[in-house]
């Protein structure tokens, strides 16, 4: 018998309940459509879909057939195609395209029907994927269950923001009052707010209790200084940092960049000169700040958490979601420093080293000469780009902000951009470090 069966009777029954839940949700949705008096065709469509889901769910729960003969499963060709495409490059490009698409198509996405169809598709994708053994191993790990719910929660709140913002943008364009002004009926702290808070508190406590009882804590072997679990993963909220560490030296990805993230977030209110959007949702009036923030939050932070949770396997190799976590998966990840690319590959000569018996000064000079191209590039990035940007793309910002505020702002933008830049350089040119001075623990 296959020790790793894609389907077992328990899995089928569990999926049945998931389909039934989805059917119940769609029944409510159909009811909503009936109440809204939409066209009969649309209502009939939702009703048929709900019935289908219900029948599928019942078939799962009551079916006594052999799991091997069960037909509703993710097709193999789809799984192998997804696993072939699973690479950091495709993942990152895909998340960037998705990010652009969400902003581009926001007016279409915020329609409730569109969102409901997308939610249905996401849950159906989950249901079908759960028929795969390896997918279940990743998604069903007690560590990872909260991340799955996080996907849906982040999706929902991003959608909610865009819905409110698009609504207000349309109101502003039409010269109507804002949603927040029109719908500003004041309610009392006691009892309205306090009751809401109490109900939230009870619901949350109940969820935590059920969670604590149902999902056992993922305890591992006793800790040992010489035995690192493989893969070794940080807590989920630090997986973005762990992914950063793949591209940067520890002092950069572990100290400098996190500090800049924290200080930068604190500095935001002092940098922002746009007084609009205060107390109400809007997108069009704060395009730059919202796109910048969402870029840092969704593709760079949430995206990397998802990558670290579901797609990084043993030896921190990249695995597709349906792929077996093979410890011996071979990936060609050789990489070289910029100094080697410059001196060895381009100039066809060995790296400059101080001759034996050279003085300390000569050694330092040799190191600086070896890394000169990288050092110049970093200097240009940090010192030439800000004034250049002030004269070109950020001209309006510079005028409004003044020198000091603009410099803080420009540096924050540059430091945020340095992560994707380094990732692309690693993938495109197998670049390890732009400046590599291991002698002084200084690598960029």
């Amino acid at each position: 018998m296959d020790p790793h069966p894609d389907l077992t009777p328990e899995v089928i029954r569990g999926l049945g309940w998931l389909y039934l839940l989805l059917a119940a949700m769609n029944a409510l949705w159909t009811w909503r459509e009936v109440k809204r008096h939409v066209s009969a065709g649309s209502i009939a469509g939702w009703a048929v879909f709900t019935t289908l889901l219900f029948l599928v769910g019942v078939a799962h729960v009551t079916g006594g057939a052999e799991p091997e003969q069960f037909l509703i499963r993710m097709p193999e060709w789809f799984k192998s195609r997804v696993d072939q495409l699973a690479k950091p490059t495709t993942y990152f490009t895909g998340s960037l395209l998705l990010f652009v698409a969400v902003i581009w198509l926001r007016e279409w996405l915020v329609k409730p029907t569109v969102a409901w169809v997308l939610l249905n598709l996401a849950v159906l994708f989950m249901c079908l994927s759960l028929t795969d053994y390896d997918f279940r191993q990743i998604v069903g790990k007690p560590d990872n269950v909260p991340i799955v719910s996080m996907l849906f929660i982040v999706g929902f709140f991003t959608w909610l923001y865009f819905r409110r913002a698009v609504d207000n943008d349309q109101r502003i364009a039409a010269g109507r009052p804002l949603f927040e002004q029109e719908d500003n009926d004041k309610i009392l702290v006691w009892p309205d707010l306090v009751y809401t808070e109490m109900i939230c508190m009870i619901a949350l406590t109940a969820i935590l209790v059920v969670w604590g009882v149902v999902l056992q804590a993922p305890l591992e072997d006793p800790a040992s200084a010489v035995r690192t679990p493989n893969p070794s993963k940080a807590p989920w909220y630090f997986l973005g940092l762990q992914e950063m560490l793949v591209y940067y030296d520890p002092w950069m990805a572990g100290v400098v960049l996190p500090s800049i993230i924290l200080v930068g977030l604190m500095a935001l209110p002092y940098i922002d000169f746009n007084k609009k959007g205060n107390g109400y949702y809007t997108f069009n009036e704060r395009k730059f700040s919202i796109i910048t923030f969402l870029f840092g939050f969704i593709p760079l932070w949430i995206g990397l958490i998802i990558l670290g949770t579901f797609l990084r396997g043993p030896n921190w190799n990249f695995f597709g979601i349906y792929e077996f976590w093979d410890v011996h998966k071979l990936e060609n990840l050789n990489n070289v420093n910029l100094s080697e690319l410059v001196w060895v590959d381009t100039l066809k000569q060995p790296l400059p080293v101080a001759s034996a018996g050279a003085s300390e000064w000569q050694k330092i000079l040799a190191i600086l000469l070896r890394e000169s191209v990288g050092l110049v590039l970093v200097a240009v990035y940090l010192f030439v780009l800000p004034p250049l940007m002030a004269m070109t793309i950020f001209r309006r910002f510079f005028v409004r902000m003044g020198f000091l505020r603009y410099m803080v702002f420009a540096n924050l933008v540059l430091f945020m951009a340095c992560l994707p830049i380094k990732m692309v350089l690693r993938w495109a040119f197998r670049l390890k470090y732009i400046v590599a001075i291991p002698e002084w623990f200084f690598n960029i």
């Binding site: 010489v226 035995r227 690192t228 030896n315 990840l333 590599a436 291991p438 002698e439």
Partner: protein
């Protein structure tokens, strides 16, 4: 008289006492840096004769207790050497695994990879694994000394204390 009164004033007394207590607490904390008993494996230990280590192999049996691999290879500058590599990744300090099939050390934390020689070639590790001291002791056994380390990027691997050359 005024000076004595000033020194005995509640204000001065209170601050003096506070300062005194703080200094004592600080000293007590500092004392924890020097534990009475340190349960650590010895820094110097015998690992048996050189003939225990076959050419082209990495002995992983000492990693759990002492945190070193014993490598016997002729791939570093063509010499037939036995040396001890500290099992600490030079990126962020995890313990890499020796993958005999791929002939490389691979770190599970961020994917750094090192050849059998200890030289880094993939992932983020900025420098090679560190060698620790090894020598042939008087009784014919190899002796590893973890109190000294040798870094390739500092040109320290040419130091004869960092390897044992197998002759014959």
């Amino acid at each position: 008289m005024v000076l004595v009164a000033l020194l005995l004033s509640p204000f001065v007394l209170a601050w003096t006492l506070l300062a005194g207590t703080s200094v004592i607490a600080l000293l007590a904390t500092a004392r924890f840096m020097m534990p009475n008993v340190l349960i650590e494996p010895p820094r110097k230990f015998k690992i048996g004769p050189a003939s225990d280590y076959d050419l082209g192999t990495v002995a992983t049996k000492l990693v759990a207790q002492f945190g070193v691999w014993i490598v016997h290879t002729d791939q570093y500058r063509g010499k037939n050497l036995i040396y001890a590599l500290a099992s600490v990744c030079t990126h962020l300090g995890c313990t890499p695994s020796w993958l005999a099939g791929e002939q490389k050390f691979k770190c599970p934390c961020h994917g750094s990879g090192f050849y059998i020689t200890g030289i880094n070639f993939e992932g983020p590790a900025p420098r090679p694994l560190e060698r620790v001291g090894i020598r042939l002791s008087e009784d014919g056994m190899l002796e590893v000394d973890k109190s000294i380390k040798f870094q390739e990027e500092m040109g320290q691997w040419i130091d004869p204390a960092s390897y044992y050359e197998v002759v014959g």
